[in-house]
Amino acid sequence: MLRFIVRRLLWAIPTLFIVTFVVYCALRLATNPLASYARANPRVAKDPEKMAQYVETNGLWPGFGGYVRGYFVWLKGFVTGNWQVSIKGSRPVWPNLKIALVNTIRLGLLAVMVSIPIGLSLGIFAALKPGRLRDTAVNTGAIIGFSVQPFISAIILQLFFGVQWAKWFGEPLLPTSGLYPPGHQGFDPVLMLKYMILPVIVVSIQSIASYSRYMRASLLDVLNSDYLRTARSKGISERRVLVKHALRNAMIPIVTLAALDIGAIVGGLIISEAVFDYPGMGVFFLNAQSNGDFPELMPWMVIITSSVILFNLLADLAYAWLDPRIRLD
């Protein structure tokens, strides 16, 4: 087991190199950092000497060779902690990125805690009576859930709980934007929770839909298996058949899926964050993108990809831990 983890971690390093290099090239092409810098700092842009200086310190040489050299310049700065500063106002990137990361993880974990129990229960509920009304209802509900795009549910919820509610009852039922009321200072979990209700609902709709479908499919698979027939033929209680045999086995792919899903949180909540003005990774990305701010986007992408790679590893470990047929060494 330990050997597997070490080997996989060692493998993750070259993977990260390749992925970050690809991302580096893609971002340089997409944002055109030099032009963006010039746009953001028109006075500096008039001074060719200062511009040449900027190219040298940040490794923004043109051509493929320039990209490769530039990547290593960036990498050295990134690894040693001398991150490139934002193009606008030359601010350090990490403090804001850290806040955004924490906020997004908070929102994402809350959404996971809401959607996994609900989704799995619905899936189990449906799979126990396949073809019956409850199964059709859960299945239909799941497809409706898939079809409700987050930006639509977000603005409809905003309209209903914010604006219309205020029209009918005098004040909005739930806050519809931000993390705290404007001007709020300090940490207040209850208040924050209230601000997170609507974004969590929006994120959870599609999540619940997909967990319920996966759980249903996985459990149905197990329920139709030969070993479940064997378990029933033993004369043990139906409850024991379901818990010890069916659910135990059906959870294996679900746990893997959940691990991958959690790994995708950090970059996956862009839409709901944007609509609700929630100061997380999504809003950070959209702002940096609109400024063409390469020094902000690059660490953002590194965090996203590292999280995906890390949780991939965790998913594999969970799989091996739950299923004795999988051998890691």
Binding site: S225, D226, Y227, R229, T230, A231, R232, S233, K234, G235, I236, S237, E238, K244, H245, R248, N249, I252, L322, D323, P324, R325
Partner: protein, 325 residues
């Protein structure tokens, strides 16, 4: 006779409700198995031989409608509630299946799966005692180093060893009836013989009634005392094993025997055609569409089993055909 039977089935009918209509998988099967006896149940795929016994055990899906009667001792199983069925399953009647790899739970240790069977019917027993008993059982069915093996998983066993585990599990509560559904089909020929030996030994030592479901007439010849041949959800012939092999009167049984490879015979004669569509089984004798001896009378009533020479045969022309042989 039926009072002392270990398992007694009367006019069992199983119908599956499907998207395309009702599939009449079993259409009136009756049989008795005595303690210590091996009853062979033979037939092609889809003849309803497995389904009959899965129905008795209450292991069919929700879409199966089961009618008739099946008694283990005094307990009626058809239409019984789950509690009654649970008390019988694994206790009075145990079952082993065709593919032991998929029949064993891949994520539970083998010993624990055997122990679970014991604990299911011995409520006061401690887990440690059950685990010890499981190791004993693994030893009885001939698994070497049973203590180590009990801690392993099904995928770490060979096919034959897995089937031994299934047998160990099945005999854990000293059942009156052991239903073996194609127990050797998925195994190598040499391993097949060993597994059959284990089953036979258990029958002798414990006096278990064995139902051996198979399509392999060789297995039947070797193991069974009596044989029932099934076709299209009905029993078409019933006899002791010797009579069936030497003086069968049903054209289908004869066809089956003729399609078996034997040393010295140069040609196999397969039965022409395919088994019927059980959505709309043919009227009268279901075999008549494939039968070389079918006449107009075969389309009439469904033939019942009648004594012809040494076998009971469900063929209206059996008496006439006797002359032809």
């Amino acid at each position: 006779m039926s009072t002392e039977s270990a398992l007694s089935i009367r006019d069992l009918r199983v119908t599956f409700k499907t998207l395309l209509g009702n599939v009449q998988a079993v259409r009136g099967v009756s049989l008795d198995v005595q303690p210590g006896e091996v009853l062979g149940v033979v037939g092609e795929s889809g003849s309803g031989k497995s389904v009959s016994f899965l129905a008795v055990m209450g292991l069919l899906g929700r879409n199966a409608v089961i009618e008739g009667s099946a008694k283990v001792g005094d307990t009626e199983l058809v239409g019984a509630n789950q509690r009654t069925l649970r008390k019988v399953r694994g206790n009075n009647v145990a079952m082993i299946f065709q593919d032991p790899l998929s029949a064993l739970n891949p994520v539970h240790r083998v010993g624990a799966q055997v122990a679970e069977m014991i604990l299911a019917h011995h409520h006061g027993m401690s887990k440690d005692d059950a685990a010890k008993r499981a190791v004993e059982l693994l030893d009885i069915v001939g698994i070497p180093q049973p203590e180590q093996r009990a801690r392993q998983y099904a995928h770490e066993f060979s096919g034959g060893m897995r089937q031994r585990v299934m047998i160990a599990m099945a005999i854990a509560n000293d059942p009156k009836v052991l239903i073996a559904d194609e127990p050797t089909t998925a195994l190598d020929v040499t391993v097949q013989a060993q597994i059959l030996e284990v089953i036979d030994r258990i029958r002798k030592e414990m006096g278990t009634a064995v139902v051996l479901i198979t399509h392999d007439l060789g297995v039947v010849a070797r193991m069974a005392d009596r044989v029932q041949v099934m076709y299209a959800g009905r029993v078409v012939e019933r006899a002791d094993v010797h009579s069936l092999f030497h003086q069968s009167d049903h054209p289908y049984t004869r066809g089956l025997l003729a399609s078996q490879p034997t040393l010295g015979r140069e040609r196999l004669s397969p039965i022409p055609g395919a088994p019927p569509n059980m959505l709309q089984p043919p009227s009268g004798c279901a075999f008549r569409v494939r039968c070389a001896h079918a006449g107009p009378e075969c389309a009439g009533a469904v033939p019942e089993l009648i004594q012809v020479r040494r076998t009971e045969t469900a063929c209206v022309r059996a008496q006439e055909l006797e002359a032809l042989v």
